[in-house]
Amino acid sequence: MTNYLEFEKPLAEIEGKAEELRAMARANPEMDIEKEASALDRKAKDMLSSLYGDLSAWRKCQVARHPDRPHCIDYIDALFTQYTPLAGDRNFADDHSVMGGLARFRGKPVMVIGHEKGNDTKSRIERNFGMARPEGYRKAIRLMELADKFGLPVITLVDTPGAYPGKGAEERGQSEAIARSTEKCLKVKVPLVSVIIGEGGSGGAVAFATANRVAMLEHSIYSVISPEGCASILWKDAEKMREAAEALRLTAQDLKELGVCDVVVKEPLGGAHRDSKTAIKAVGDAIAAMLKEMDGQRGRDIRDDRRRKYLELGSKGLAA
């Protein structure tokens, strides 16, 4: 079953009709519907390319949050071998919204860390919808330290609505945990590459995505605040999220122009959720290319380059 987004409704109608025709034909083998059905298929495909060829910022937010979009767990399954999860922050708990551990990427040992949102009610609750608590950042810090000690590159997969606005998370110092995680990202002397695969929500994303190279999937977003949150603060009306999404410049394309994102990874037609396999493969190739750029570089230089990149960031705005 396909989960259609609101703006995909006309598409749902056409695809539904084609499906309906084929179902009728299955029941009545004498019916010849193929011509009509393929015409509908073509129409659907055209509509898909026109819809996705020019997504507004708000539509991109919806695609980035699509429930069928491949999540961290899917990327780890497909792109890594011998994934060996390492749990816990050695302090309070193991945060299930953050996955991480040793693994091999194209044969070479690495540390992989990412946010996992879950894909059904049960796993979403278990994963806290991808919103890390302090323990998640502290686990990541620990894993980055381990990678640094043994010279393993760190790969982070970012997909979070943001930090968790809860009492316990605040009491256990989530600001400090995020700050320390960002600090650790800036300290390690191994290559650190990050891919925003869905939502890059605020500080929760920065804590993992402060990297030598940052790639973003074509329809992923990365923002200081959710469009809804921004709308309710600046417009005093949460329903103004479309305007807020435009104004915030949170799309991969805008962020590339601003120098925050280094690589935009093309998604299959109709978004990553329509063809996970192709999307995941493209992300794998992007990771490999980013890591290759740092091949043979000294650890100190890799770290200094990362720091310099952030110091220099923002010296240019968007072209008018």
């Binding site: 605040e170 256990r172 700050a179 960002t182 200081v224 949170l250 110091l311 923002g314 010296s315």
Partner: protein
């Protein structure tokens, strides 16, 4: 059309401002309701003399009270590109900026200065909550980097007074990028072995708390300051959790192990001098020589007097 509000009022206002009649001679303490005379309030660093409530203080007033004889030199902050996203909500960002500059008389939401406190050279940076809620954008990032670079260059500790509602949304992702940028600045200090002391003032929230404001070697807060990542209203609205008394206030954080100290503003200067001189391995001050200047240019020749008492 209301002729009176649109025409008459601006004229009256401009008359008043020309004659420099102080707008309010009295301030009502929002905690205990005591009416406080503006001179006494300023002398007490905007702390209510009755209940100890800490009110907002501008970076300039703070620095005047902090540095020996009220003397400090501003550290130049590189100007970032203005309105990088050409942001507009109900109002243009550029107009909001102009409004904030006019009402505060400041360029932006952070002031950086160098000088001496108790004969101890330091660099200090203070965030201005009255300037667009002290929000962190490119300029604030540049200010912290400039402060760290100056501290490293002159081998001084950096004392940072934070106050912010969070990131400057109108600069979008570039405001978020100030989290890693300012963290690089903190790393410069740490690599140089220089103390970095954070004084968290009311309120310090959002991305500011989750970056440079939580990375100090010593973390001090002013009493009752709200310090958090997600604010109490956000938590109550999204999670519907009941929040305990004093939640996310300085004393609560101290109890939960998130701060080193909670110190009243009036004792902050002495405490900073004591801590910094120990961290810098300097002798204690035998006699506290230079007292801070009185605000509003009332500083007299007090150079040989004892440091202010509690």
């Amino acid at each position: 059309m209301n002729w009176i509000t649109n025409y008459v009022r601006p004229t009256i206002n401009s008359l008043f401002s020309r004659r420099e009649v102080p707008e309010n001679l009295w301030t009502k303490c929002e905690e205990c309701g005591t009416m406080l005379f503006h001179r006494e309030l300023a002398e007490n660093l905007n702390v209510c003399g009755n209940c100890g409530h800490h009110m907002v203080i501008t970076p300039r007033a703070r620095f005047t009270a902090l540095f020996d004889n009220g003397t400090f030199t501003e550290v130049k902050v590189p100007e970032p590109i203005a309105d990088p996203l050409q942001f507009r909500d109900q109002k243009k960002y550029s107009e909001r900026m102009k409004g904030a500059q006019k009402s505060t008389g400041e360029r932006e939401a952070m002031l950086v200065a160098k000088g001496e406190i108790g004969q101890t050279p330091i660099v200090a940076a203070a965030q201005d909550f009255s300037f667009m809620a002290g929000s962190m954008g490119m300029y604030v990032g540049n200010a912290i980097i400039a402060a760290a670079e100056e501290a490293v260059k002159t081998k001084r500790p950096l004392v940072l007074f934070s106050a912010a509602g969070g990131a400057r949304m109108q600069e979008g992702i570039l405001s978020l990028m100030q989290m890693p940028r300012t963290t690089v600045a903190v790393e410069m200090l740490k690599d140089a072995g220089l103390p970095y002391i954070v004084v968290l003032t009311h309120p310090t929230t959002g991305g500011v708390t989750a970056s440079y404001a939580m990375l100090g070697d010593v973390q001090i807060a002013e009493p009752n300051a709200l310090i958090c990542f997600a604010g109490p209203r956000v938590i109550e609205q999204t999670i519907r959790e009941k929040l305990p008394e004093g939640f996310q206030r300085a004393e609560y954080l101290l109890d939960h192990g998130m701060l080193d100290r909670v110190t009243p503003r009036t004792q902050m200067r002495d405490e900073l001098i004591t801590i910094i001189r120990m961290l810098m391995n300097k002798e204690p001050l035998a006699v506290a020589v230079a007292a801070p200047a009185k605000p509003e240019g009332e500083a007299k020749a007090e150079a040989q007097q004892e440091a202010p008492k509690k």
